[in-house]
């Protein structure tokens, strides 16, 4: 059973972390839309819920900015599929995003420490 609280992550947080997540996944290997979403699902243990369609405008934006490259490939079934690869500029952007996120998460961690002492935290919400 799930707890009463919604285990999903707030929309704003999902949106903010979308770009680094997608870039990081593509940094691992080239991929296509559906597989990227599966991977995000895996990485977040299902807690980061995307509206599936929204990934595609994001991928287009990354393409326009030159962070990823898209190419169509025939897939065994005969249907065409669009694959995305990260570019050098994309890696650069990823590094920069990572630096920023580390600062944010570091700051949060420091803030939690004082928070923790006054509030008991329910043990990590394991599914």
């Amino acid at each position: 059973m799930q707890t009463l609280k919604d285990p999903r992550i707030a929309k704003d947080l999902v949106a903010a972390s979308a770009t680094p997540l997608v870039l990081a996944i593509l940094d691992d290997s080239e991929s296509y839309g559906y597989a990227i979403l599966k991977r995000i699902d895996e990485l977040s243990g299902g807690a980061m819920e995307w509206t599936d369609g929204m990934l595609y405008p994001l991928l287009h934006r990354l393409d326009r900015l030159g962070y990823v490259e898209a190419k169509w490939d025939a897939e065994p079934g005969g249907r065409r599929r669009r694959y995305y690869t990260i570019t050098a500029a994309g890696r650069e952007a990823l590094t920069e995003q990572r630096r920023q996120w580390e600062i944010v998460s570091g700051a949060l961690n420091n803030a939690w420490r004082s928070f923790q002492s006054s509030n008991a935290i329910p043990s990590a919400a394991g599914a």
């Binding site: 599936d52 929204m54 595609y56 405008p57 287009h60 900015l65 030159g66 669009r82």
Partner: protein, 466 residues
């Protein structure tokens, strides 16, 4: 992975595709990609035991709302955002009522602009009568209109755009400020009538005010590069439409003259003092409305026009260079040379801007990009020749207002094109994304504004209003 589902489901997928395609912001390739996603999802759902119908419904649901999706695509390709805004919501009837109201307001504003433009004639400023003086000397009325034409016409455009964008009054007051300042300067400077500085101001005031109209067009959000691109696109389309309408208007006037002459009525005065000036000013607003309302028509025209003229101009410039090399004749620095080359550079910058604004930024380099690079590079080369010969002339004869303005403009454009050529080169070699070129052009717009302001504000006193 199997590729097909039961026939009934396939029909549903097809219907879903057509439905998506009707959204103008989602392009066929996007739909292909989304369909691939939908099918992958359905396969997976089918594998855990859902029926075809069920998995279709779940997959569609997970895909998210179409409105949201198409808005997101539109935001990404913000050039097409307006369509969604226009088409989203409201019944056909409501929309037609809105369109009707818009048409009415546009017409009223255009009429007001035309009347305001003729208002000074009531106080004796009427240069449109033609044929009265006949001399080449600029009389007081012509001089007044030279300096003030854009100051009378463009506030109505700004007003129209502000109405369309529902701009708050406070912002509108800010936008009115440049108009007031320009009006004061232009009418208090003691110009020599018909002098160079007066003419230069007459040319540059409209540029400054047009950029102010641009800020209005963007609803005050002029800082973002993407939105500036919107305004550049608007400018280009406005220009095409205006040229088309001016051409049509010219034909109409000529025919009117002919027909009335045939029945023994002289329509000359009516046309030259009413139809032409009122039409020209009213069209400024009407064309702005047309560009907004009929954008999709021009969107198809812009790439075609650049596609036709970029190679032609490139060919012309390359043959000019070949001609210089073969004959050994270099550019002779006479009076008009600098103006000619300024016009050339303005044209090349215009072509570059137009093709950038009409281009899908995500596309890969094409042959047209290479041709454009040839165009820009040869324009640069020729302009360098013109500049060197012009500089020697200036060092011999000193600066006049015209020479200074010509030289300044030339340098402003030269810097732009130089860096454009470099970015284009890098783009073709795959070193930089196209977006860099776009960003450079949008970032450069304030330079034009600054230069035009300098010509209007600094030049007249600096050259003694001659």
């Amino acid at each position: 992975m199997e590729a097909t589902f039961e026939p009934g489901i396939e029909t549903q997928i097809r219907e879903w595709r057509t439905y998506l395609l009707r959204r103008k912001t989602i392009q066929p390739t996007d739909v292909d990609e989304l369909e691939d996603h939908l099918r992958s999802e359905m396969n997976e759902l089918g594998a855990v035991g859902l029926s075809g119908d069920e998995s279709f419904l779940v997959a569609i649901k997970r895909m998210g709302g179409l409105n949201e999706l198409s808005r997101e695509f539109a935001r990404e390709r913000s050039s097409r955002l307006w369509k969604q805004l226009v088409l989203a919501g409201g019944s056909a009837r409501e929309r037609s009522r809105e369109l009707y109201a818009e048409l009415l307001v546009t017409t009223l504003i255009a009429l007001a602009a035309a009347l305001a433009f003729k208002a000074p004639a009531a106080f004796g400023y009427n240069p449109f009568r033609d044929s009265s003086g006949g001399g080449s000397v600029v009389d007081a009325a012509t001089s007044f209109y030279l300096r003030n034409a854009s100051l009378i016409a463009l506030p109505f455009l700004v007003g129209y755009l502000a109405w369309q964008r529902r701009l708050p009054l406070k912002r509108l007051a800010m936008l009115a400020l440049p108009f007031v300042v320009a009006a004061v300067l232009v009418n208090t400077f003691p110009f020599d009538r018909g002098g160079d500085t007066e003419l230069l101001v007459a040319i540059h005031v409209p540029i400054v005010l047009w950029l102010v109209a641009g800020v209005t067009y963007l609803g005050g959000e002029w800082r973002a590069g993407t939105s500036r691109m919107e305004f550049i696109r608007f400018t280009g389309e406005w220009f095409i439409y205006y040229a088309l309408i001016a051409f049509g208007g010219g034909v109409l006037c000529a025919l009117t003259l002919g027909v009335f002459e045939a029945i023994g009525i002289d329509a000359q005065v009516f046309i030259s003092s009413w139809v032409l000036p009122c039409g020209a000013v009213g069209a400024v607003v009407v064309v702005a409305w047309l560009v907004e309302a009929k954008q999709s028509v021009i969107e198809n025209m812009a790439p075609v026009l650049t596609g036709v003229f970029t190679p032609l101009f490139a060919l012309m410039l390359v043959s000019a260079i070949v001609g210089m090399a073969v004959t050994g004749n270099f550019i002779q620095a006479d009076r008009d040379v600098l103006i000619l080359f300024d016009v050339l550079l303005v044209l090349v910058v215009g072509l570059v801007l137009y093709s950038i604004s009409a281009r899908d930024a995500a596309a890969t380099p094409t042959l047209l990009d290479a041709v454009q690079l040839v165009l820009v590079a040869s324009a640069l080369l020729i302009d360098l020749f013109a500049l060197t010969s012009m500089l020697s002339r200036i060092s011999d004869f000193g600066f006049t207002p015209n020479r200074a303005a010509g030289l300044g403009l030339n340098l402003v454009l030269l810097v732009n094109l130089g860096w454009t050529a470099w970015l284009e080169f890098a783009f073709i070699r795959g070193k930089r994304p196209f977006a860099n070129l776009e960003r450079w052009q949008t970032a450069y717009v304030p330079v034009y504004a600054a230069w035009a302001v300098a010509v209007v504000v600094i030049f007249p006193p600096a050259f003694g209003f001659s």
